[in-house]
């Protein structure tokens, strides 16, 4: 079962080819890693797929439907969500509010319902609150629930963005460096959660990661991006042995 | 605004019916100047329209250049920019009318004085905001507050009464079918020379190089040992000096009063955005385009359109002068909607 299919995707910034005819596939119910030297176009790929950048060519399919050209929020509603590399944390929203924000299809988001269907709105809010607290417990953010998200440390913001992604409950989650800045014990914990979600609920993850350890720990498949092109593809073991990839990383560093 | 012929449409509606389109060449020379202010815009005389647009374009571009520079470097829209300019114009007035200096000398003295005030305001208000890394929106709202305060300080010092400079009444001369006073010719020439100087400043001096570097990438520029605070001070200096010139010119052409800054704010923004923020040449082009558009729209006769191409009789139909300020508003909104990068795009 294919979840995400990208064909000949192109994105240019002026004369720079950030994505040069990228084609790739992400299988459903799997964890796929995306690695590559800095500036190879990983985040750009995420931005184009999630609708934040306009593509300059190519096609993107998600669950058989074409999604390129849709707005980011429309793409999310189809079940594809993403996190950001530099974590976005609303300054004046508490951690718990952040989690509540992410819950999908809330009828209270409509001002009319918010005023006139209060019992139903508050019932849904309570259900969401329970789920949010459970997730916060997993992420060890319970004690920080009433802190402003803007006051969190970088690592905590990362955790929160993961929490929001889980709360949103999409089918495919694009994670942009989920463990960068998170301490090792918690990072291991996180990877376990990701693994569990994939196994139990059949979620698919597409992860940008720098740490080869993380990649080989959880990924089923790894894609290597270099100069806007997919240069290698395979299991973590295969990629680790690939000389071309090593060269690219060495020259990049 | 008394109009002896009764042709002035006044405030009669979006489209007013003008019985007479008076070509003012037929009027006695001595009265041309007064008439040209009231009636000139109704005249569908192309050389005159171009001449008028050149004058207004020169005035607006001097103001727009400073605005676009500040917007580009400090990333916020300075709503007080036009008020700085009017402050300078008032200083010029005092030097000119009270101390009796010539206008030229007055501008030379008033421009750096205003620039000094501009730099002081920056040090007192915008610099702390930069240091706190406040949102650009905060700086913008701050500039709005500064504008309000400044406008009313002018009112306190010089009162609300309108002022004029000591310029002798001039007989307009005819150039290629357009009538211009010497003042107007001076405005166009000064505008042109100032633009050339600006170009040289930007491309031939260390300041210009640093400014362009900061505009491209602030972090990288500071890594290259460019003292951005010093460059920002010089930028304010130049923005204010050019603003004072523009403000004085507008006051020469029309009248000087404290609220003038607010009245010209939107056209100046319009010119800057029309040309593309951060692009000084765009600002000039934007100012000229806007001036031309203002003059043409007011001179246009819509009767042909309204009568569906001559299907039935309609008198000449023109847009009421009451809407002159609205023209730049509408152009501004249209540009923002359809081409927010301006006609030239970003650099």
């Amino acid at each position: 079962m294919l979840t995400l299919t990208i064909r000949d995707l192109q994105k240019n910034f002026g004369s720079l080819r950030a994505l040069d005819r990228v084609s790739l596939e992400v299988q459903g119910n799997s964890i796929v890693g995306l690695i590559g030297p800095n500036g190879s176009g990983k985040t750009t790929l995420f931005n184009v797929v999630s609708g934040f950048y306009e593509k300059d060519g190519g096609e993107i399919y998600f669950k058989g439907e074409r999604i390129d050209g849709l707005r980011p929020d429309q793409i999310v509603k189809k079940g594809l969500s993403r996190t950001f590399q530099v974590c976005k944390a609303p300054e004046k929203l508490t951690v718990l509010e952040n989690m509540m924000l992410a819950a999908k299809s809330q009828i209270g988001e409509d001002p009319f319902s918010a005023l006139f269907r209060r019992p139903r709105v508050s019932m849904l809010e309570k259900a969401n609150l329970d789920r949010a607290m459970d997730l916060l417990e997993v992420l060890q953010l319970v004690d920080l629930r009433n802190e402003y998200a803007g006051d969190l440390s970088g690592g905590q913001k990362k955790l929160l963005s993961l929490g929001r992604a889980f709360m949103l409950d999409p089918d495919l989650i694009l994670l942009d460096e989920p463990t960068a800045g998170v301490n090792l014990t918690l990072a291991t914990q996180l990877l376990k959660v990701i693994r569990e979600l994939q196994k139990k609920e059949g979620k698919t993850f597409f992860i940008i990661e720098h740490s080869m350890k993380v990649i080989s720990d959880i990924c089923d498949k790894v894609l290597v991006l270099n100069f806007g092109k997919i240069m290698a593809e395979g299991t973590p073991e295969e990629i680790r042995k690939d000389e071309q990839v090593l060269k690219a990383y060495l020259s990049g560093a | 605004m008394e109009d002896p012929t009764g042709a002035y449409p006044g405030r009669r509606g979006l489209i007013s019916y003008v019985k007479l389109v008076i070509p003012f060449h037929f009027l006695p020379h001595a009265r041309v100047d007064t008439y040209s202010k009231v009636l000139g815009y109704y005249n569908m005389d192309f050389s005159q329209i171009i001449a008028n647009s050149l004058v207004r374009g020169a005035e607006l571009s001097l103001l727009a250049i400073g605005l676009t520079m500040v917007f580009d470097i400090l990333k916020f829209a300075n709503f007080a920019h036009a008020d700085y300019a009017v402050l300078g114009a008032f200083l010029v007035y005092s030097l000119n009318q009270v101390l009796g200096l010539s206008l030229f000398l007055a501008v030379i003295l008033a421009a750096p004085a205003t620039a000094l005030i501009g730099i002081c305001i920056d040090t007192a208000i915008f610099k702390p905001l930069r240091r706190k890394e406040a949102k650009v929106v905060t700086a913008m709202v701050c500039s709005l507050g500064i504008g309000i305060a400044l406008r009313n300080i002018l009112r306190l010092i010089w009162t609300s009464r309108t002022k004029t400079y000591a310029i002798p009444i001039q007989k307009p001369i005819e150039i290629l079918g357009a009538r211009l006073t010497f003042t107007q010719i001076g405005i166009v020439l000064t505008g042109f020379i100032s633009m050339v100087i600006f170009h040289l400043l930007l491309h031939r001096t260390k300041f210009g190089k640093a400014l362009r570097a900061i505009s491209d990438n602030r972090v990288l520029a500071s890594a290259c040992a460019i003292d951005s605070e010093k460059v920002i001070k010089w930028m304010w200096f130049i923005a204010c000096c050019y603003g004072v010139m523009g403000g004085t010119m507008i006051a020469m052409e029309h009248l000087l009063y404290p609220r003038l800054g607010f009245d010209i704010l939107i056209p100046v923004f319009c010119a800057a955005i029309l040309g593309g923020i951060g692009n000084p040449y765009g600002a000039m082009l934007g100012a000229l385009t806007l001036a031309l558009a203002e003059n043409i729209v007011l001179a246009l006769d819509f009767s042909y359109l309204i009568s569906l191409g001559g299907l039935f009789e309609v008198g000449p139909i023109q847009i009421s002068t009451g809407y002159k300020p609205a023209i730049s508003f509408v152009i501004l909104v249209a540009v923002l909607l359809f081409r927010p990068t301006g006609i030239l795009g970003r650099k």
Binding site: L101, L115 | N152, S160, L332, L336
Partner: protein, 306 residues
């Protein structure tokens, strides 16, 4: 006795400006939309209601509803460009939009009576009260409106809708990445804010019974901005407090003006200098305002608080 009438007038104006400040705060403090043309809502609400009543002969209640509806419609229209414009560009556009509305009121004399303004606007339930007691009744009417609007807006900002608005204000991209239709949310916010300010306009028109374009100069927008900056953004009480402070200052200086040997123009200028400085000083040294935004704390079941 005149002191009491002055007091009632003062409180009434505070009430009207509280509504306007709450509306602006809803846009700026909650949604992060920088609107420099707020007075346009006020103007449209006032003109629509008074013209519906005086020219079309509609009943007063219809005038009020019409004023709110038209002002809400204007909110809808000016929110359309927010989808493609950055915050500062949009702010410039709203400043322009506000001026266009005033110019329309000034130039479309066939409809608005141009510079002469709309005169003898009827007052609601005027026949029930004597000349002396009517201002007090109107004060109660306005107080009731302020209370209702405060209540409604609080409900909205405490709902998921309000949470989304705050998220747009702080991180719009994040909102998009969570599947929120930010375009629609901004639009809804502008319509709500427009209706509130339109109500304020209608209340104003039927209170002073005479309106002209002079009442709706950009300076009014600046006053409302001073209110939300001084009072504090992101909470409705702050907006009301700001309206109280600024109106007290505004009116009391007018009052003092009679005893100080300064011309009225000088006093007016001095007043605005102080308003401008207040905006700058508060943004620099007390950016949160007098009442800071309240943190939302959820009530949890016992299970979660071990």
């Amino acid at each position: 006795m005149p002191v009491i009438y002055f007091l009632i007038y003062l409180l009434t104006m505070i009430g009207i400006y509280s509504l306007l400040a709450m509306s602006l705060n809803f846009q700026v403090g909650f949604t992060g939309l920088i609107n420099f043309g707020q007075v346009a809502f006020f103007c449209i609400g006032a003109y629509a209601s008074s013209l519906l009543v005086t020219k079309a002969g509609a009943p007063l209640i219809l005038g009020f509803v019409g004023g709110m509806a038209l002002s809400g419609l204007f909110g809808y229209i000016i929110s359309i460009p927010t989808k493609s414009l950055k915050a500062d560009y949009w702010a410039i556009a709203t400043l322009a939009g506000g001026e266009v509305v005033r110019l329309l009121a000034l130039n479309e004399g066939w409809l608005t009576e141009g510079p002469f303004g709309v005169m003898s606007i009827p007052q609601p339930l005027r026949w029930l009260f004597s000349k002396d007691s009517y201002p007090l009744f109107y004060l109660f009417l306005i107080a009731a409106c302020v209370l209702i609007i405060y209540f409604v807006l609080s409900l909205l900002t405490n709902s998921p809708f309000g949470r989304n608005l705050k998220a747009i204000r702080d991180e719009e991209d994040l909102c998009l990445s969570l599947g929120k239709n930010t375009r629609k949310l901004k639009l809804q916010a502008m319509v709500v804010a427009g209706m509130v300010a339109g109500l304020a306009g209608a209340l104003f028109a039927h209170y002073i019974t005479y309106i002209s374009p002079e009442n709706f100069k950009p300076i009014e927008t600046f006053l409302m901005w001073a209110m939300i900056i001084v009072g504090g953004r992101g909470n409705h009480l702050g907006a009301i407090l700001g309206a109280v402070v600024i109106q007290l200052f505004n009116v009391s200086t007018r009052f003092i003006g009679g005893y100080v040997p300064l011309g009225s123009d000088t006093m007016a200028a001095l007043r605005m200098v102080i308003i401008g400085l207040l905006i700058v000083l508060f943004l620099l040294y007390a950016p949160e305002g007098l009442i800071r935004e309240r943190k939302k704390v959820y009530h949890l079941k016992r299970k979660h608080i071990e």
